[in-house]
């Protein structure tokens, strides 16, 4: 929309995104686009994550955990209304979470599998009993599975989003824009902006042009980091924070050339991650060395485990008996993946590993061939979901990591105390890294470019949501 004059600018904003939602229903459609737009803006959960990765109250003003660590009791906020006018009651929460188990198509629904029963002693109290203690469940509630729907509000989820959040959707133009309008009857603190438009740009250059010519105010997560250089002036601010996205150079542990750990180790030594980050993503992002982002409680710096050492790599290649045979490197046609594949394949070639790059359409073909059929030796993808280490490195996931050791540790950690959980998870991350299960290239940056007079830009993207209620004009 037009940037208009200053007076108007005070309460409206236009924000650019890359991945566009095909519909508004994240219960049956996967991907980051829909929760990015809706979570915390339209839909709210009982709890939310703050920028440091800490769990904070949301629709639940308070909660308690039973001594056996299996039963949570939530106290709901008062005076919460859905955008259709209905009041939030404990029934809505029960309805929503049971619906996850019953009706959701999104595979993330499994995060609610652990719930045994939900009770509603009164309108503002919800009691949820888990089958076994879990450290991750409450955290999972901060994601989209925790979203609370009105009992009457799920008829046309694909086109109509009814939630308790500070904004409601005024207009959804598929593939182009979503217009948000601030709700007068929001229960919490009123957002500074009256209207916000999300505008979707497939092409990062178009988005950056739009920002330059003043047609938009903020580019969330710029997909062409080289462009950031053009905004180094007083008129703009460049915010580079973290995300939950680990860019993984994944290797097929179960089959083919990388079944051999020596081959995987060769890759770990062959890759100069700093060079990858600098050339492919203009140095934005963070080297991590493991599947855990720094914002997770069990983060540990493992960048030192595998140091760039081509000579060692060459030796390992020879040890593994690889004599220049090609392996398949399936690359989703996403900007970062394509850029990474070019430098990674060049680095691998230097140590005698010949990658046969096959670009695959994302999501359709990559999901089909690489992800579902496991027809690949190497791939590269940004695993963007929060705390997904256990999912990605489980036996039946596409990487085919042998999780016989880590699974046991994980079970213990999840049911144990907070401390046990953290130490367990650290152990898992370290095991996976040391197993050379895959190469963790870098943490995908949250690169935001905005006009310099915008405040409240979330530097770190640690949850699904892009919270617009925090944004304001200075």
């Amino acid at each position: 929309s037009d940037s208009g004059d200053d007076a108007e600018q005070k309460d409206s904003m236009s924000v650019a995104f890359t991945a566009e939602p095909v519909n508004l229903d994240f219960t049956s459609t996967s991907g980051v686009a829909i929760p990015e737009a809706l979570m915390e803006n339209v839909y709210e959960s009982l709890v939310r994550l703050d920028g440091d990765g800490e769990i904070q109250p949301a629709l639940a003003k308070d909660w308690t955990l039973s001594d056996d660590r299996k039963t949570y009791t939530f106290q709901l906020q008062d005076g919460v209304k859905f955008s259709n006018g209905a009041d939030l009651t404990s029934e809505d929460v029960k309805f929503s979470y049971e619906r996850v188990q019953k009706d959701w198509k999104n595979a993330l629904k499994s995060k609610m599998d652990i719930v045994k029963s939900i009770d509603t002693p009164d309108d503002s109290t919800v009691t949820i009993e888990l089958k076994k203690p879990s450290n991750t469940w409450l955290f999972n509630l901060t994601s989209l599975v925790g979203a609370v729907f009105d009992t009457e509000g799920t008829k046309d989820l694909a086109n109509e989003a009814i939630g308790t959040g500070p904004f409601e959707i005024e207009k959804f133009t598929r593939g182009q824009t979503i217009d948000f309008a601030a709700r007068d009857d929001y229960w919490g603190e009123k957002p500074a902006l009256k209207t916000v438009q999300f505008k979707y740009f497939k092409d990062a250059v178009s988005a950056s042009n739009a920002l330059k010519s003043g047609e938009i105010d903020l580019v969330s997560n710029l997909q062409a980091p080289e462009l950031a250089g053009e905004f180094q002036s007083d008129d703009y601010q460049i915010v580079s924070g973290t995300t939950n996205g680990e860019v993984v150079l994944s290797m097929n542990n179960a089959d083919g050339i990388f079944k051999d750990k020596k081959a995987r180790e060769a890759v770990m030594y062959a890759i100069d991650r700093k060079a990858v980050l600098d050339t492919a993503w203009a140095g934005y992002g963070e080297l991590i060395g493991s599947m855990v982002p720094p914002t997770d409680p069990y983060y540990e710096d493992l960048t030192g485990v595998w140091k760039h050492d081509p000579e060692k790599a060459k030796q390992l290649v020879a040890d593994a008996g690889i004599k220049g045979e090609e392996f398949s490197f399936t690359v989703p046609n996403l900007p970062y993946a394509k850029a990474i594949s070019e430098i990674v394949s060049a680095q691998l070639e230097e140590v005698g590993l010949k990658a046969n790059i096959e670009t695959q359409e994302f999501p359709a073909v990559w999901l089909d061939k690489t992800f579902t059929e496991h027809d690949f030796d190497m791939s590269v993808i940004n695993h963007a979901e929060p705390r997904d280490i256990l999912t990605v490195f489980s036996n039946d996931y596409y990487i085919g990591y042998d999780d016989s050791t880590t699974k046991k540790i994980a079970e213990k950690a999840d049911t144990g105390t907070e401390e046990e959980y953290i130490s367990g998870m650290k152990e898992i991350a370290k095991t996976i890294t040391e197993d050379a299960a895959s190469d963790f290239l870098f943490l995908f940056p949250n690169l935001v470019i905005a006009k310099s007079d915008i405040e409240g830009i979330p530097a770190n993207r640690v949850s699904d949501a892009f919270k617009i209620a925090d944004l304001s004009w200075n």
């Binding site: 250059v205 062409a224 046609n333 070019e342 430098i343 060049a346 790059i357 695959q360």
Partner: protein, 271 residues
């Protein structure tokens, strides 16, 4: 014509030389030398991985020519016989409907522009140079079929074919001895124009990400990737842009020149 031929030879030369010698290896990455401007070491500069742009331009010529050759070959090898056969049938009282069916099928194919085919093909076979050039080639079939058909009809209606028939030549012999050599001119003209179009199509498709894929160097890809460096390193876009334009210009001019040469009017004048 001469300018066109020179440009085409230049592109051809670049491609051929790239087989023997290029300043650098196209996949040679040098993070220290990334995004350099033109220098003695890198006359056209380097890209974001520190790869030599001149090397890439030379390799890109290969893809450009490959796409052109394959696409034109497909279109020509399918379209020309189709056109000739349709025309041969059109000349038989009982074959008119076969001609009609062939040409209608041709018209339907005409309704699927190259880009549409390429988008679908990229989805069916995964994006790449192969599907792209097949799509471009298929989309160019109707053009060849039309040219071949009208040329053949013209030749078949000529007195010399009547004379050949009166001398007992059979249809295949007439097609080979009289039709082919006489429509060759028009087909060659069409080929050079189709070549120019395929150069543009490859660039467009690669730009959309539906054409040549990493790590193969192609001008369209270079142009696409140079976009984010436009304001900082415009020469990254300049070189592929210039060479695409030169190639298209070359083939178009060559086509124009050939057209003049094969134009029956001109022929009559020269006679």
């Amino acid at each position: 014509m001469i300018i066109g031929a020179c440009l085409v030879l230049l592109i051809l030369g670049l491609a051929l030389v790239s087989f023997i010698w290029t300043p650098y290896d196209p996949s040679e990455i040098d993070p220290a030398a990334r995004l350099q401007s033109g220098s003695l070491a890198h006359p056209f500069g380097t890209d974001r991985f520190g790869r030599d742009t001149l090397t890439w331009v030379m390799y890109g010529a290969r893809i450009t020519l490959l796409v052109g050759v394959v696409a034109v070959a497909i279109a020509q090898l399918i379209g020309t016989p189709i056109g000739i056969i349709a025309a041969l049938f059109a000349k038989q009282p009982w074959g008119v409907w076969i001609d009609a069916v062939i040409m209608r099928a041709n018209d339907i194919l005409l309704a699927f522009p190259a880009l549409l085919l390429a988008i679908i093909f990229a989805a069916v076979f995964s994006p790449g140079t192969g599907p792209a050039m097949i799509a471009v080639g298929i989309a160019a079939i109707p053009g060849f079929a039309r040219v071949a058909r009208s040329g053949t009809l013209q030749v078949l209606g000529s007195e010399y074919v009547r004379a050949a028939r009166a001398s007992n030549r059979r249809v295949p012999a007439i097609a080979a001895v009289h039709v082919l050599p006489n429509i060759a001119g028009m087909v060659i003209v069409q080929a050079s124009v189709a070549f120019a179009i395929s150069v543009l199509a490859e660039a467009g498709l690669s730009f959309l990400g539906l054409g040549t894929q990493a790590p193969v160097p192609s001008w369209g890809r270079m142009l696409q990737e140079s976009q984010q460096f436009l304001s900082t390193h415009p020469e990254l876009a300049l070189w592929p842009g210039v060479f695409i334009a030169l190639a298209v210009l070359g083939f178009n001019l060559l086509g124009d020149g050939l057209r003049d040469r094969f134009d029956p009017k001109m022929e009559a004048k020269r006679a």
